[in-house]
């Protein structure tokens, strides 16, 4: 009995030493500008022209799988359900990953050359197009909403002018857009066909964003800022500053 108590005490002590505990099974969440993503037991990596799968059923031992040619200027990858949304400088590509090791291209949404991350929710993809010297596009800045319920017939159901969108994130009825030097936007997507503005903070710079459990994490030249959006309005919580 004494020994059992000793073991329990020891276990208790051990559990204290590891502050916060180990990461739980499963995958985490990346931003819209990511080139690495995990979906189920597969790690997907986009290079400048290709999509490479790694089997990570045994997470400690990634095994290279199929490498698919996507096209030119591949920039971002976003997983949603059994699909991958790949953002390139010429458009958005949707891949079916029902067979995870062999992503199959099922749809293409082409647009003018620009930088364009993409996120998805429900039957809708949200694509931002950005101008800039690195994006082969001098003028267009917009948010396009694309209905992909029919993969053979993608439909643009809305396009909204933006200033210089770098990254975006979606959570429920809210869409967040990092407008680079121009600030941070909160939009209402309750009706994806009619996107409405909620808030525009032009006092900060914002690149990529991750909305997660009522908290928005924002990357900016000043550092990593966090906001609460529990009330649909952004409340600043903290900034981990960049040291000059």
């Amino acid at each position: 009995m004494y020994r059992l108590l000793l073991i329990f005490s020891l276990l208790f002590l051990l559990s204290c030493t590891k502050d916060g505990g180990s990461p739980t099974p499963g995958t985490g969440i990346g931003g819209s500008t990511a080139r690495f993503t995990v979906s189920g037991n597969t790690l997907y990596i986009v290079g400048s022209t290709s999509l490479q799968a790694f089997d990570i059923t045994n997470s400690s031992n990634p095994v290279p799988g199929a490498k698919t040619t996507v096209g030119v200027g591949v920039e971002t990858i976003f997983p949603y359900r059994d699909k991958l949304f790949v953002g390139t400088q010429t458009g958005m590509f949707i891949y079916d990953i029902t067979q995870p090791a062999n992503p199959k291209q099922v749809s293409v949404y082409t647009h003018i050359q620009s930088c364009d991350p993409v996120v998805a929710q429900g039957n809708y993809a949200y694509v931002t197009l950005r101008s800039g010297t690195n994006c082969r596009n001098r003028t267009a800045n917009s948010l396009d909403v694309v209905d992909f319920s029919d993969l053979n017939n993608l439909k643009q159901i809305g396009s909204y002018p933006m200033k210089n969108p770098h990254g975006l994130g979606v959570d429920g009825k809210l869409l967040f857009v990092g407008e680079g030097e121009y600030g941070l936007r909160v939009l209402d997507i309750s009706n994806p066909a009619v996107v409405l503005p909620i808030q525009y903070v032009d006092s900060v710079k914002a690149y990529d964003v991750i909305p997660y459990q009522n908290r928005l994490i924002v990357t900016s030249p000043a550092g990593i800022s966090q906001y609460s959006y529990a009330t649909n309005q952004l409340t600043h919580l903290s900034t981990l500053p960049v040291q000059p």
Binding site: I29, F36, G47
Partner: protein, 177 residues
């Protein structure tokens, strides 16, 4: 028109048309950002180590896993942050990974690019991150910066492996894209 005049004029027309049809090669840009490669010896780039927290300098991509926030330091590695209290995030450690720009996590394994290699790191204990698998040459040699419409100092493989590109004031850089 006399036949002897007709042929030269036809030739002239051909020449003019030819001039219109041949696409002119793109001119090197004279403005725009200038980059230079940052080299590291081939042996040094495969050293991954856990360091005490480091200041953020050039924050890149971010990744959330449980209570942790991972922040890429462009070209250098990953800051591990305890984010249980988002009003007061606490830096726990810095994983030094030369050339690193990307990351994703499953379970307690973090996948990262390490210049040419893909590494799988066990981050269960952020103070002691271990390489559990390295896939060599998973990525191509970065012979140019990712940005387009830029000029840059041409890479010289004899000087080592390129771990990142940095903006620099260089006179008359010879490479561009």
């Amino acid at each position: 028109m006399h036949v002897y005049l007709r042929i030269p004029s036809l030739l002239l027309v051909w020449l003019l048309m030819d001039g219109c049809w041949r696409p002119a090669p793109p001119e090197p840009p004279t403005s725009g950002d200038i980059y230079r490669p940052v080299y590291a010896p081939a042996a040094a780039i495969r050293i991954v180590q856990t360091l005490p927290p480091q200041p953020l300098q050039n924050a890149g991509k971010i990744y959330i896993k449980d209570q942790y926030l991972f922040i890429n330091e462009v070209g250098r590695g990953i800051h591990v942050v305890d984010n249980r209290n988002p009003a007061k995030p606490m830096q726990l450690s810095f994983i030094s990974i030369p050339g690193n720009q990307e990351l994703a996590i499953k379970d307690s394994i973090l996948y990262a690019d390490n210049v040419l290699d893909l590494v799988a790191l066990n981050v269960a204990n952020p103070a002691n991150v271990r390489v559990v698998r390295r896939i060599e040459n998973a990525f191509p040699y970065a012979s140019y910066p990712l940005a387009t419409n830029v000029r840059f100092e041409c890479p010289d493989p004899t000087r080592g492996v390129i771990v990142r590109w940095e903006k620099a004031a260089i006179d008359n850089p010879q490479c561009f894209r």
